[in-house]
């Protein structure tokens, strides 16, 4: 099993009510699969709309790459929202 830290900020934190959690996951799991599980867990669609983003180890990752990105032990996933402006 691998351990992956998942953190939420912005709207995702409000919607899930969670700031951070550490999950034990099977080896070879992809980021796409993790997102599907999180959606089921929180009954909420992570990655919905263009204003939500996922950073893997502090690097942004376009959603089309989520399904092909394999997670590793110690990875940190940050689910975040941002819209132009500021």
């Amino acid at each position: 099993m691998i351990r992956v830290e998942v953190r939420f900020a912005g709207l995702p934190r409000t919607e899930t009510g969670v700031k951070a959690e550490t999950l034990e996951l099977e080896p070879d799991i992809t980021l796409g699969t993790l997102v599907e599980r999180l959606n089921q867990r929180y009954s909420w669609e992570i990655g919905r709309g263009e204003s939500q983003f996922i950073l893997l180890n502090q690097r942004g990752l376009r959603r089309e790459r989520w399904a092909h990105t394999r997670l590793e032990d110690g990875d940190s996933v940050l689910v975040i929202s941002a819209i132009a402006g500021g």
Partner: protein, 606 residues
Amino acid sequence: MFTGGYLGKLLRVDLAREHHAIEPVPEAIFEQYLGGRGVAAHYYREELGPAVDPLSPANKLIFFTGPLTGLPLPATTKFQCATRSPETGIYLCTNSSGELGPYLKRQGYDGLIIEGQARRPLYLAIAGGGVEFRDASDLVMLDTPAAIEAVRADGPGADAAVMAIGPAAYSGVRYACIMVGDRSFGRGGAGRVMAAKGLKAVAVDRRGEIPVADRARLKAILPVAAKNARETKRTHNLFGTNQYTEVMNELGCYSVRNFTTGVFEGAATLSKDYVTRHYKDRSAACFRCPVACAQVCSVRDGPLAGAVSDPEYETVGTLGGVCGVSDFAAIIAGNQLCDEYGIDTMTVGCVIGYAMECYERGLFTREDTGGLEVRFGDAAVMLELIRRIGRGEGFGKVLGKGFRELARAYPATAPYMMHVKGMAFAAYEPRGFYGMALAYGTSSRGACHNVGGWTIRDELLTGDYDRFALEGKGELVKRLQDTRAYIDSLGICTVVRSSMGFTDSPTGDVLLAATGVDFTPRLMAIGQDIIDLERMILVREGITREDDYLPNRIYTEPLPEGPARGRILTREMYDVMLDEYYRLRKWDRQGVPSGRAQEGAREAAG
């Protein structure tokens, strides 16, 4: 030939002679620079020589609307001001929301140029296309809400739009703003210029019509654009721009204790959820805005009970993070004080943060500060300093000078001044994402996240860029700046712009419907021309490559903690980005527009 959107006229007001004139604005100027920021820069270049003292009668306040300002579309609220900044000593572009721009167009004018110096305190009442010069002797030291109320009561109508300056402008605060109702021309000290001119306020009657080329088409566009804006900006309505506080802190890019670190242990009580739960009263909207991103907050108990204001992300990040203050009640109160005195919240937060660091380092003493222990995290001291700055008292008078003057008076403290070209940083830590460093460095008005380019979405989130990479940042910042330059010239708010197709690949027929001319395919090129024009102005005012650098802290001190821990941006690394940026702009290595860019700017300037 324009058949709508533009009026083709500007109103020129000479305060010394109490005289006004109506002048045509040639269509060629709109074709070249669109309106708003671009056209204001054009008039600035034509009329303000490089030696003009910002506080002299020779300085001017050049206000321009855009072709969309005031039209029946979402958030057509913006208008622009160009002037010589008393904070930076150079060209300033600054924009505001509010009703005044739209109402000015209803009066028949695209622009308003205010020049000279009044011989008595004045305010202007604009109605029926004409101008009255009214005595403002009794209004001078009123705070901005009281002044606006008094002018409304005495002016062209109770529902007139009013912009006014507060006591800070008269106390010599070089970053005093102009309040436009409850919005503002915030940055750069346009309010101080207005005080030097002896002008307390401008009121504009609301009545009038703005011509539109194809009203039926605009009517069809409006509901679609408004629905799109409401749906895509839902979080703006719920939380406003302060939604970024916890995001920036998570990424280690927050503005903390005068930019000594990028992580704030007190961010939880500044976060949107905490603020919504404990302080938010309602969302509020600007003129014709379907989003309503302002978050009106109030303090319900404790020593600051009764304070009411709507702090934006930048205000929270500067009065809060930069000063190490985690008490949101104090930020609501501080923001309210700034609005009442008429002070730029961003600069004042950075100036107080600088004073706090210098005091802790022993560079300022209690003798300097009038007995105050000026330490990070002390909310009461932060508020007291805003009061003293606003009133021009003691240490407040000193801090009101802004970084450029402070560096001359206190050279030993200069390393702790976080600014570019004299303008204080916004609330983003540039060592946490290098594109923001380039944005601060190359913004035409000094360190700014708007004019400079808001790189966060592209750099931190999309995966298209590595935030700590150098390559590609010149292209990114150039593209964002060109986009922003044309947006600032249209007269709409950046929050809703994409709902009308105004992105870095502009689409749609809004401009065709509004003006009868399809600017859309040329918008990015126009944005580029505006940036070139502004750079030519800055070069004429003595700005060189050396002025495009950030404070040494960014180049020499690694971030001590958080996700960006250990990150540093050396001058050599910064040079890689700056060289790429200059190259793409076709500027030479000193940052001077050359070849076609220079010719284009010169030709366009007449």
